[in-house]
Structure formats: C-alpha cells, structure tokens
Symmetry: C2
Subunit: 333 residues, 2 copies
Amino acid sequence: MTTIYDVARRSGVSPATVSRVLSGRRNVDPELSEKVRAAVAELGYRPNGVARNLRRASTNLWAVVISDIENPFFTSLVRGLEDVAQTEGYHVVLCNSDEDPAKEAAYASAVLTEQMAGVVISPTSTAEGVQQLDEAKTPMVLIDRRVEGIEADTVLVDNEHGAFEGVNHLIEGGYRRIACITGPRRVSTAMDRLAGYRSALRGAGIRFQKDLVRHADFREAGGFAAMESLLDQPERPEALFVTNNLMTVGALECLAKRGLRAPDDIAVVGFDDIPWADLVVPSLTTVAQPTYELGRTAGLLLKDRIASPGRPPSTVTLRTELHIRATSAPKKP
Amino acid sequence: MTTIYDVARRSGVSPATVSRVLSGRRNVDPELSEKVRAAVAELGYRPNGVARNLRRASTNLWAVVISDIENPFFTSLVRGLEDVAQTEGYHVVLCNSDEDPAKEAAYASAVLTEQMAGVVISPTSTAEGVQQLDEAKTPMVLIDRRVEGIEADTVLVDNEHGAFEGVNHLIEGGYRRIACITGPRRVSTAMDRLAGYRSALRGAGIRFQKDLVRHADFREAGGFAAMESLLDQPERPEALFVTNNLMTVGALECLAKRGLRAPDDIAVVGFDDIPWADLVVPSLTTVAQPTYELGRTAGLLLKDRIASPGRPPSTVTLRTELHIRATSAPKKP
DNA sequence: CCAGAGTCAGAAATCGATTTCCGAAGAATA
DNA sequence: TATTCTTCGGAAATCGATTTCTGACTCTGG
C-alpha cells in the first residue's frame, strides 16, 4: 500500500500539502500541486478511505433495512435509493430484516458501530432497531410504514386512498360481497388499507362484515391460508381485495388449486404491482405503488437530513395508481 | 461518543485490557474482566468499527457488482449472497453496473479505496473493473460469466447444457423451425447458450440457419426488436428459444402486440425463470437457474478465498432445471 | 518605513481501536 | 535456592488520512 506519506516524500512536500491538493479544500502553489499530481500518478496512489472515515467520523455508507429484497416491492425501491446514493457519493448496504425485530436491531447496531452516514428503513412490527437509531440521532428515513412515537422523515404511499380506489373499482363492477385479506394488526399499512376497504364499502352503502376479513402475515403462505379460510365459509365471496403482492400470489395459488378462476368465479384486485403483470393472462388488476419513486424520495430526504440535521422532519406521501387489468372485469349478469 | 478510553478510565484499567476483554483474544483476570463489562454496560459503550478497520487494514464489507438488481435473476442471487454474508459477519454493498464498463470500473475503484474485504461480480463486456481488482489481488468471485485471461473463483451454470435441454424439449414437441434470440457476442453466457441451441439442432439432424438467430442486448427492448425482425421474415418460425428473462418478456410483448399466442402460433422456451411463472396462464416454460444457490455458492467461495488467499481458484458449475409449463406444449398436427 | 492583515507550507495533534513490547510477578524446573 | 518460563497488565506505537496550529513570508495602507 502506498500512503500519503509516500506521495509526500516523492514530491518533496508534506503530507498536509498532499491532502490539500487532493481534497482541493485550500489553495496550493500550482507548482507543488503539479508535483503532487505527478507523484500520485507515478505511484498509483489511492487514498485510504477507512483512515479518512476515522478522521471525519463518518462513512459514505447508507444502510437500507427492508424485510426482503426478493419482494419486488423492495427491489425496485432499493434501485431508486441506490441511484440517488450513487449520484450523491454514497454506497448502499443491503440489510434483509425478514420482518424479524431481532434482525432489525442487529442491523441497527451495525449501522452505529460502522458509523454509517444514514439509514433508510422499513420498520418491523416492534421497530426495535428504529428506536435505537432514533436515540442515537442517526439520520434516518422511514419508508412504507409509520412508527408510533418516532418523529422522523417518512415516505409513505396513500394507502387508504389506494385501497379505496381498488375496492371501489370492484364495487363499480357490480360486486358487493367483497372479501379482504390484509396484514397484521400492528402494521400501519395493513390497517390503513383495511380502512380504505371499509370506507369504500361504506361509500356504497354496503355493510361491513367481519367474517369477510382475514388478517394474515403479508406472506405467500399466509395469503394462501386466508383464502382457504374464506372459501371454506358457507357463502363464497364474489370478489377479493388483497393488501399486498405476496399474499395476492398465495391467494391466487389457492384459487388455482381449487379450480376457481378469476374473474369468472371470483374477481381479484391486489395491492402492489407484480413484475410483468400485464403480460400474462388473465392479467392481474393492481393498486400499484410508485416503488422506484419511493426509494428515490427516501434517498433525497436522507441526503437533506444529513446536510441539515436540525430541520424538522417531513413526511412525503406518494399516490398509488390503479392498474385495471383482467381479474377485475365487471360481474356478468 | 464514548470511547475505549472512557471505559478504561471508568473501570480502572488500561485501554489495552478493555480491548482484550472485548475481543477475548487473551486471558484477562476475571475480576478486571467483570469491571470492564460493568463499565461497558453503564456507559453504553459501542466500539468504533471504523477505527478497528483502520488498524486491521480491512473492513467487513463485501461488494456485489451486478448489472441490475431489478432483474429477478440478480435479486435472488443477491439474497443468497447476503444470507451467507450475514452468518459470516459481513455486510453487502449493492452496486448496479447497468452493463456499463465505466460504472463497473468506478465501483471497483470504490472497493479498493474503501478497503472492502471482497467482491462478487458479474462482469460487463469489457470487464474493466475486474482487471483492476485482479491486479490489486482483491478477493473476488466471478458469477454468471467467465472473463478471458482472469484466473479467479467462478460460479457458473451449465449454460450450454441448459440451452440444449430447452431446445431439445421443443424438438421433442415436434417443432423443427426453431428461432433463437441470444445476447451480445462478447458475453460468454450468450455464446454458451447459443452453442447449446446449435448442439440440440445438430443432435436432431436439423440444419442450423443463420437467419433464425438474432443477437440482442439481453434487455426487454432488445428482445422485442429481435422478435419483430424474426416475424418480419417471409416464413414465421414455429418455436422460439430466448436466452434470458428480460428478452423473453420483450419477445412475448411483441407477440401479444401482433396478436400471436403461445404455444398455438409459436411455442416459447425462455432461459431464466420469472417470478410466479406458473401462476399465470399460459405459463412460461423456462430453463431455470438456481439463482439463490448461485449467490450462496459465491458467498462461500469468497469466504474461503479470504481465509486462504493462496489456494488455486476453483470454478463451480451448477445445473439448470427445465421447468416445463404451457408455452412449449407439443405441436398440434 | 512600519504595523497589521493575509496567505500558505509544514509540524504535530488527532480520530479510536489494536497490538507489540516491556516489565513484574508467580509458576515450574533443576 | 537459583534459574528459566509463563502469564498478564500497561505504556506506547501503530494504522493513514485530516486539520489545527505555528511561523515565515508577502502585501497593503497609514
């Protein structure tokens, strides 16, 4: 490893001067400057980032803590974040929490010991890591979900409105007996989307029926089980609204297994888009979230937070978009 | 920030002793040890990872340089890698090269200045970054593609055999006029899969026809354009083999646009699986790669390489798996 | 012509942990 | 009992860059 001292020796100046030439933070005699550059080139010198980080007391790393990169919702979000990070000179460290508060906490811990510059996090149910990071005053942006009692920059989508639109679309298609599979009660998105479902029913004067609602775990298996449970009731629902992509897939698998087809046997609208959803037949109607934009917005907020730690936290709410495809075709008379 | 000196003062020992207690690298009097632990707990001390990294001359970061995390192929691969990284105490830095050699080089540069412990990389066509990293003797694992002249640990799939199986499956279904959309000539996977296509034809005594082959860019738009060009020929192919997932999607879009249906108008087999491929109708026949395993294997190789930098590089080749679904149904008489 | 302000290079301190080196004390061996 | 080995704690060096401080020098204005 060639160090800044080697460069200094070679070019006949002090290490301080080399540092100044390379950082450009202060004027340096052009002649010395030239010598330094020459020495850097000759020696193939590359500054040691770790040493710099120690002195500066921070790194150029952002952590993104999400439940699972294999969920397309997060994949595209991470891409949006990474694009901002790159233009701002940061690198993104990927952390899969798998909805496990302990893992979240472990990653939060790592963020602190590794002195990362900031965190973008989708909180797990108990948000242990979020608490830690908040106490340590780490620049942090919450995505997708709110956390009670934490004041931090947040990027959300308008879950209630999106769910309203999705369910209302089913109602307009002539469906009235509409089931809903949503997520855990402790997760804000699950409750917000359920609220949208209820308000759409209310708007159409349809009575809310508890036995048409299931709370599952936002995973494929959970969606499958919830669908089974709904179908095992005496009267089958005419339509179904599912509040995330994995559970939608699980529900569709259950329908396929039972030989039921969408939309003829049961109409379906899912929250979250699915990659290439319109390629396939019957294509799935979804309430699409602007996932790339979510990540990008989080990145921009994080950048601003790092630049001015003092300013009051802001919340950005992005709009969902209803993608009407085949599984929600109007009810046949 | 509380430092190791604060802990030392509080517990009445030297910083060296604190370090020894916490790292467990040397025996320390149980009584002192206890005092140190107490002080750590009281002060909420957390070691500074950056300082440690400087002293140790390496970090606990792995970079994964891939073309695009939004491609499901890489998504699942990254997940496999991250799982290994976590159990081995590393963190994964995500780098999207977008197939751009300049971006790859920039990330390679960052790997070196940030003293990352190792790299898992899917090389771009000119592999500029790979050269840099190789010269610097950074622990490195190549995935998905080989690079001429670089001796490094490599994880591949048996592309030729996979392609052979896929095309052979079409032949067995009675198709003979089979087109192929593959990737750039400089990319090893594109050529290997094309070779598999040719060898399947040869095995069945079908003459290879240059005008049934297209080289595109492994992206959606490229697949679309290639499909158009194939369909614009006087005689339409009976079946199609596409050598990656994005181009398959592009080709399917083109078919949809022209009102052609798989498999009735043209049978289709694609390389790379697509998420939830069997959920949708008509479901797509694919040559599936064990993407999670690819990432996992790369992680294990990287771990070993870091542990023993001297040992000769090894190449692991994983098997593909033919997933027969609807788009390759046998030809109707 | 001199005081005060401004510029710039270099010496040295600094970031915070790890690790080498040294010396003291106790254990083991002759 | 004398000598050698071990064990273990602390002082200090170390990793490599950044930054503060110091002092030499130049420039400006009275």
